[in-house]
Symmetry: C2
Subunit: 244 residues, 2 copies
């Protein structure tokens, strides 16, 4: 389990990722249960190698866990309080995992590294949950999607981070056409509306929403979607190829 390569990493700096997905009318967030005894739930996170940009670092963290290559990713805040360190987490960790207490030179060095105050760059990501192939990194005991509205207690300030990420998402969803990142390539108007309703936690009027979307001029209407239900079949849409 490689979690410590101090020379290759920027010290005291971490990347924390709030990964949003969408399923069954719910906004979801990917949460990792850490690979230790005790219920330590956390955002997928990692450190920055000397030879990668912070964006590349965030991409690496995400690609490792989701298998996705193309991911919408956006930095949204730096968390830099002066007492922001792992000490509380590590005290709990050692209480549940006494065998992890450092007992040699190497362990102490690692402890020193983790004992320092950390600055964290918060990223949020939007993924099509159906394309994700969850893949635990060495740090993860399990990876699981949680409803954004029913997030458990996370370590550190990760609950605060999800709140701030959510606010950033709300601010940017509409203007930057982010909603489509949460859906498959082909989707119905109802589906994209439900994404909006999940993100903004309020209903939209069907007809006005459709008009607004079509007026954006970025959607291409495809064939109808016949589901076998006894009602009119909706159209599929996709982002116009010219709209990257």
């Amino acid at each position: 389990m490689r979690i410590y390569e101090a020379d290759e990493l920027i010290s005291q700096l971490s990347i924390d990722c709030t990964i949003f997905g969408y399923q069954e009318k719910r906004l979801k967030v990917l949460i990792s249960q850490l690979n230790f005894k005790g219920d330590f739930l956390a955002l997928p996170a990692g450190f920055v190698y000397q030879n990668e940009s912070i964006d590349q670092s965030a991409h690496r963290i995400l690609t490792e866990r989701t298998g996705l290559k193309e991911i919408y990713l956006q930095q949204f805040w730096v968390f830099g309080e002066k007492d922001r360190n792992y000490s509380k987490f590590m005290a709990q960790l050692f209480a549940f995992n006494p065998e992890l207490k450092p007992n040699d030179e190497m362990g102490n060095e690692r402890l020193t590294w983790f004992s320092k105050r950390f600055i964290s760059i918060g990223y949020y990501a939007l993924v099509d949950i159906n394309k994700v192939q969850l893949n635990k990194s060495g740090l993860d005991h399990s990876l699981e999607w949680y409803d954004f509205n029913e997030l458990p207690d996370l370590i550190f300030d990760h609950n605060e981070q999800t709140s701030k990420a959510y606010r950033a998402l709300q601010l940017n969803l509409d203007e930057n056409l982010l909603g489509f990142n949460l859906l498959p390539d082909k989707f119905t108007m109802k589906e994209i509306q439900q994404v909006y309703e999940a993100v903004y936690d309020r209903p939209f009027r069907r007809n006005n929403f459709q008009k607004k979307m079509l007026d954006l001029g970025v959607l291409e209407r495809l064939e109808k979607k016949y589901t076998g239900a006894n009602n009119k079949a909706p159209y599929f849409y996709r982002l116009k190829p010219s709209t990257p």
Copy 2:
């Protein structure tokens, strides 16, 4: 000149500040000429001490140079490209200042510190230019206000930073009532309008602007401002005390 206290500082991390002021219908930015031979112009910047938050660090950098205690300050972007380092700057620096080349243990240690790749957290600040008492730090040869539209070449990616700071300012000015931070406590409607015109680089209609401002409900009308000009005297306004 203390510019290097590696143990007390977070390594590979800096804070760069784009400080906006307003004077004579112009948006201004505070630029430092570095205290070396050669024309090195830069944003006021500094590093983060272990025992201060990143916000406190930015405040310290600003307070040192402007004398102001209360400053509107906002992080807006993290610059973290993988090749983001001082090497190009230092090559030029040594060309103009060969005596700075390290010639002892201490100098080499410092060189090592500065040779690494740096992550920079960009802050922008808004100040009342009349309240500012410019005060050079040890790093500054001089401090000067430049028109935002006529910024000289700055070291590093500092020109890019001012552009990004400017965009962030435009996005936030209106919603967060930031314009008033650029003005004295008492101001006329024309003055705040001219701030807006400077920031958005376009004219506003006098009457509509006044209506919009008053409809915000945050302004309190004070006495008239008699200037001696042969025209109707405008009112002074201030932010309502209840609007912090």
